[in-house]
């Protein structure tokens, strides 16, 4: 003789299931929030350290004697930079005079999402260096735009930009060789370099157009 099993009605079941799901959602969302809050300071610190290291890669150390992270300014969103949000630029000075600008730009037309770049341009318009800071290009294929993933260690792809300027390279040459330009690219992965080259070219034009503003001591974004 077993007692009759009491089966709950459908609405009761539905409510009970919904409440259990809700509890799980709250529990795991709290876990996420806690992990986020707990790790944020360490992540931000690491990101700042990486930023200085990255700036060091595009900007030769001999060109500045000021504290770069303190000499930052906000740049308004600009199509020339490929950015829809404000970005931070750092003005390098030597002996009090502006010598170079380190700023961010982005290429929207990569193979997979935006490619973010960090550029350093000297006051005379010469490109000092370019580095890719963020991208989602295919590992092992399009990611050679990052020097440490580039198989060519002696002259990584991204270093082709070093020392170029709008004055030295005509508009039509800012393309990969396959399209009649002056830049090499790895066969089978030309979407990525095309996007980077276009973004660098646009960014140089942006600097040329806003040169006065960008290199004056007080900055444009204030």
């Amino acid at each position: 003789m077993t007692p009759p099993v009491k089966t709950p009605t459908a609405p009761v079941m539905a409510v009970r299931t919904a409440v259990i799901l809700l509890i799980f959602v709250i529990a795991f969302t709290s876990l996420l929030a806690a992990a986020h809050l707990w790790t944020r300071p360490a992540i931000e610190e690491a990101a700042a350290a990486e930023k200085m290291k990255l700036i060091g890669e595009v900007l030769p150390p001999g060109l500045y004697d000021n504290d770069l992270l303190a000499d930052s300014r906000r740049l308004a969103p600009a199509a020339g930079l490929g950015l829809e949000e404000e970005s931070t630029a750092y003005l390098a000075r030597k002996g009090g005079r502006a010598s170079a600008l380190v700023f961010e730009a982005a290429a929207a037309d990569g193979y997979a999402g935006r490619i973010r770049l960090l550029l350093a341009v000297a006051v005379d318009g010469t490109l000092l260096g370019v580095r890719v800071t963020q991208h989602k290009e295919t590992p092992g294929l399009g990611d050679y735009i990052e020097p440490r993933k580039d198989r060519n260690k002696e002259r990584p792809w991204i270093r082709q930009f070093d020392g170029l300027s709008l004055a030295a390279v005509g508009d039509r040459a800012w393309r990969v060789r396959k399209d009649g330009g002056r830049f090499d690219a790895v066969a089978g992965a030309t979407v990525t370099p095309r996007a980077v080259i276009k973004a660098v070219h646009r960014a140089l034009q942006y600097v040329a157009e806003n040169r006065q503003q960008l290199f004056t001591a007080d900055g444009a974004g204030k």
């Binding site: 009970r16 876990l31 066969a187």
Partner: protein, 232 residues
């Protein structure tokens, strides 16, 4: 606790019998995108092992609290939350390792192998067994992806272990084929991954068919499936 038989069954399933890539054919998205070389394949697998073991233990511990009807949304919630937490913790605490493994961790969200093991194993077994299942499934994935990545970079570019200097600075990739080897782009592109994965599956089935034939005292199959070299 766990018995020796149970452990060896979990191990055999993970490494060979139920191999996630060769038998369950799960997780193809990261598998195809990432296995362009050995290092990437191994790194993705290591990240997956960590996440899968943790997710399996979490679900196995909570399995009696999860109503059957809503188990899938709850599993997805747990897996997604844990992947994000692992990502954050790695970023904050093991930053050097994160720079190497970091890009692979978000890829795991798209890897249905984690969800599959949670549903097929952790939901029905105690936490300890589930932890071993996660680890061995991941190790099975590791050797398969390492092999696939190795074949792809060898055929595609004649090298092995390219990118090793990211993990161990100072080590150089091996150039196995002559430097003037033109490379076969197909092997580096996703179709090449599909073709080579197909060859690996055929190889596994052939090995098993031969073993089965030997067990039943017969001669090996007269026509084995296509050998590995038929990729191009």
């Amino acid at each position: 606790m766990i018995s020796r038989d149970e452990l060896s069954e979990i191990r055999d399933n993970g490494l060979w019998k139920q191999n996630s890539s060769l038998v369950q054919i799960l997780g193809l998205c990261p598998l195809l995108a990432v296995t362009t070389n050995v290092v990437n394949g191994v790194m993705l697998s290591l990240a997956t092992i960590i996440v899968m073991a943790i997710a399996n233990v979490a679900v196995a511990s909570l399995r009696n609290l999860i109503p059957h009807e809503i188990r899938i949304p709850v599993f997805i919630l747990i897996v997604a939350a844990l992947v994000t937490v692992v990502d954050l913790l790695f970023n904050a605490q093991l930053h050097e390792l994160y720079l190497v493994l970091g890009i692979f961790i978000p890829l795991i969200v798209t890897n249905c192998i984690v969800l599959a093991r949670v549903e097929a194993f952790a939901n029905k077994n105690p936490p300890l067994q589930a932890a071993f299942d996660g680890v061995f499934m991941g190790v099975g994935m590791l050797w398969t992806l390492a092999l696939l990545g190795g074949l792809r970079e060898l055929i595609g570019g004649g090298t092995l272990f390219s990118g090793i200097d990211m993990v161990f600075p100072g080590l150089q990739p091996l150039q196995l084929l002559p430097a003037d080897y033109p490379g076969l782009l197909l092997a580096m592109l996703p179709p090449g991954a599909f073709i080579l994965l197909g060859c690996l599956i055929a190889w596994k089935n052939w090995v098993e068919a031969r073993a089965a034939a030997r067990d039943s005292g017969q001669r090996p199959l007269p026509t084995p499936p296509a050998p590995l070299t038929d990729h191009a």
